[in-house]
Amino acid sequence: MSTVTDKTKKVRKAGATKYDKEMYLKWYELMLRIRKFEERALMLYGQQKIRGFCHVYIGQEAVAAGIESAITNEDAIVTAYRQHGTALGRGVPANECMAELMGKETGVVKGKGGSMHFFDKSRRYFGGNGIVGAQIPIGTGIAFAEKYRGTQNLCVTMFGDGAARQGALHESFNMAMTWKLPVLYICENNGYAMGTSVERTSNVMELYKLGYAYDMPSETVDGMSPESVHEAVSKAAKHIREGKGPYYLEIRTYRYKGHSVSDPAKYRTKKEVEEYKEKDPVKVTERKLLSEKIATEEEVKAIKEKVKNEVEESVKFAEESNYPDPSELYTDNYVQKDYPYIMD
C-alpha cells in the first residue's frame, strides 16, 4: 500500500497558495520574533552573558512558522539543539527563552539547559536534543504513545541533514511505517552539518528519498516560504490523522550564520550565502505583505514595534533574574525527593 510520490523536480514554490491576512500576519510576527530574539542573543553572547553553544535558526524561521500554523497545540514537537525558533513557535515566552540562554532561574528549564535544551511540557514541547539524531527515535516513541492512548495527535520530529545519516533514522522509519505511527518526520536540510555539505556525506543527496526505502510518503518542500511549509505540513498532518502512518518532509532551508557562534563558515562561498539572503523569509514576507496590500505599513510597523519591545523586555527580564542557587544541582536528577546522593 505505497503512497510514495516522487517530487524530485517539483520543489514547492512560495506564493503557490493564498492564505488570509491573519495567517500572513501570524507568520510574519513569529518569524520576526525569532529573528530579532536571536540577533539580540548573539549580541549577548558577544558580551559573554550567554555561554557555551548557541546555534541560531536565522534563515530557517519559515520552517517553524509553517509548521505551527498547520498543527494543533495538542500535537507534540521534538527537535535538535538548533531550537530557539521551534520553542518560540510553540509559544514559549521570549522572557523564559532569554532567561534560559543566560542560565537564570526564571528560564524555561530554570537555567539548567541553556541554548540546546529548552523543554516545555505544558506546550507539548519535548525539547532540544544535543546528540545528533537522538530525537528521531524519541519522536517516534512520542507518537507511539499517542497512538497507544488513542488520541488524534501527531508528533513532529525534526532533525538536520547531518542527522539523517544516523542509523537511528532508518530504524525509526522502519518501525514507524510498520506500526503506522502518527509521526511527521521533518528534515530541515540547510545544506550543511557543521562544515560538511550534504554532497560530502552520501550518494543520496535527495534526502526525502530516504523515506522510499520504507514506502513512506516523502516530499521536498521549499523551506524559505511559510506558505509552502504550511501547505506541505497540512497535507501530511491530514494523512497522519487518518491513521495512515508516518509522513516525511525534507524541507530545504539555509542557515545564514555559522554552525554555532565560533564557526567562521569558511566551507561555503559568500555568493551562496548572498543568494539565499535574497530569499530571506522575513524580508520576502514583509515585502509581500506590503506589495500585495495584505497589510498596511502601519500594521507592519506595529508588529515590528511589538516584537522589538518584547525582545528588549526579555533581555531586561533575564538580566534582572538570578542564577539558580547552587543547591539546585541536587534537584531534578531523580524524581525521588530523598535520593541519597554521594556527597563526599
Binding site: 555561554r51 557555551g52 553553544f53 542560565g103 537564570k104 532561574e105 537555567g111 539548567k112 539547559g113 541553556g114 540546546m116 535544551h117 536534543n129 544535543g130 546528540i131 545528533v132 539524531g133 547531518g162 542527522a163 545519516r165 544516523q166 542509523g167 552539518a193 557543521m194 562544515g195 560538511t196 560530502r200 556525506t201 552520501s202 566551507y267 542564577y323 539558580p324 542557587d325 547552587p326 539546585e328 544541582l329 541536587y330 536528577n333 546522593y341 554521594i342 556527597m343 563526599d344
Partner: protein, 327 residues
C-alpha cells in the same frame, strides 16, 4: 632540544609521525579532513596524507566505529576520532562488544589494533549531554586500554604507543586544553601505557589525578606549599592498566591520599584507586583515603551549578586539610 607545543599540535605530531612510519595507519572521523578537525587536532593532515588516509565521515558514530573495528581485524591500524566522547556513546556497541572482545572470541586469531580518541570531560557551560567523562566507563571493560592525559609531551608519547599497540586503546583528551602548552622533546620517543608520572615530589600527602583535573590539583599543591603542607602529585596518565605501584610507593612516604577525579563518584576511577591503596598500603595510611569528584549529578548549564559541580583547587585543599587534620 624541546619546544613548546600545544596539546593539539603534540597529538597531531603523534598521528602524523606514525602515519609516515606505517602505511596501515589512517585517521577517520567527523570533520577531521577538510575542516582540519573540529578542534584542529588534525590540521594539515589531509594535505599531507590525502583523502585515502584522512577521512571525513558522516555523522554516524556506530557505523564508522564498526568500520574501524572491521578494518583493524583485517590488517589496518585505524585511528577513530570522536568529536567528543559524549558522541562515542552511540559507538559503545562496537567498542565494548567488538573491539574489546574480538581477541577473546576468536581465541587469539583476530587482534583489533585500533585507537579511539577524542576529548572527555566538561568544557564549561555545555550542559548535561556534552559534559561527561568516560574514563571509568571504558576502563571497566577488559580488552580495552584507556589513557587520559593533557600533558603535551606525554600525550604525544602515549598516542604513539597507542597506535603501535596491538590491542584497542581509548584515548581521552580535553576540549578545554587543546591549546594547553608544554615542553615536547624533539625526535622519536614513546611513553609506555600503564605507567603513572610523579609531577611534583612531596612528603605530607599524595594527590592523584589525571587529564584536566591535573591543573587544579597542581594549583592546590602550590597553595598548600605556602601553608607548609608538602603534596606529592601523581598524574595517572593511564587508567587501564592502572599503575597502583607508583601510588603505593608515594603513600608509603606520605601516609595520606586524596584522589581528584572528574568522574562521577560511584564506581569511578577514584573508587578503584582507593580500593588499591587500602589493599596494598593499608598499614601506611594515617587517614582514610578521600576524593574530590564531580558532583553525583548531571551537569546543568547555569554557571552557579557548574561551579558547584566541578572539582577545583579550593575543594582539593579542603580535602587535604581533612586528611592531614589541619584546621
Amino acid at each position: 632540544m624541546a619546544r613548546e607545543l600545544a596539546l593539539r599540535d603534540a597529538l597531531n605530531e603523534a598521528m602524523s609521525e606514525e602515519m609516515r612510519r606505517d602505511e596501515s595507519v589512517f585517521l577517520m572521523g567527523e570533520e577531521v579532513a577538510a575542516y582540519n578537525g573540529a578542534y584542529k587536532v588534525s590540521k594539515g593532515m589531509l594535505d599531507e596524507f590525502g583523502p585515502k588516509r584522512v577521512i571525513d565521515t558522516p555523522i554516524a558514530e556506530l557505523g564508522f566505529a564498526g568500520i574501524g573495528v572491521g578494518a583493524a581485524m583485517n590488517g589496518l591500524r585505524p585511528i577513530v576520532e570522536f568529536m567528543t566522547w559524549n558522541f562515542a556513546v552511540l559507538a559503545f556497541d562496537q567498542i565494548v562488544n567488538n573491539a574489546a572482545k574480538t581477541l577473546s572470541q576468536s581465541a587469539g586469531q583476530f587482534k583489533c589494533p585500533i585507537v579511539f580518541r577524542g576529548p572527555s570531560g566538561a568544557a564549561g557551560q555545555l550542559a548535561q549531554q556534552h559534559s561527561q567523562t568516560f574514563e571509568s566507563w571504558l576502563a571497566n571493560v577488559p580488552g580495552l586500554k584507556v589513557v587520559s592525559c593533557i600533558d603535551p609531551a606525554d600525550a604525544k608519547g602515549l598516542l604513539k604507543s597507542a597506535i603501535r599497540d596491538d590491542d584497542p586503546v581509548c584515548m581521552m583528551e580535553s576540549e578545554l586544553l587543546y591549546g594547553y602548552k608544554g615542553e615536547v622533546p624533539e625526535g622519536e620517543y614513546l611513553v609506555p601505557i600503564g605507567v603513572a608520572a610523579v609531577r611534583r615530589e612531596g612528603t605530607d600527602v599524595t594527590l592523584v589525578s589525571f587529564n584536566k583535573m591535573m591543573l587544579p590539583t597542581l594549583e592546590a599543591a602550590e597553595e598548600l606549599a605556602k601553608e607548609g603542607i608538602s603534596a606529592e602529585v601523581i598524574d595517572l596518565r593511564s587508567i587501564r592498566p592502572l599503575d597502583h605501584q607508583t601510588i603505593v610507593e608515594s603513600v608509603k612516604k606520605t601516609n595520606r591520599l586524596v584522589v581528584v577525579d572528574e568522574s562521577w563518584p560511584l564506581a569511578g576511577v577514584s573508587a578503584e584507586v582507593a580500593y588499591e591503596i587500602q589493599k596494598y598500603a593499608f598499614d601506611y595510611l594515617d587517614a582514610p583515603v578521600t576524593r574530590v569528584n564531580a558532583a553525583d549529578t548531571s551537569l546543568p548549564y547555569a554557571p552557579t551549578l557548574v561551579d558547584e559541580y566541578m572539582p577545583n583547587a579550593a575543594k582539593i585543599i579542603k580535602a587535604v586539610k581533612e586528611v592531614t587534620y589541619v584546621k
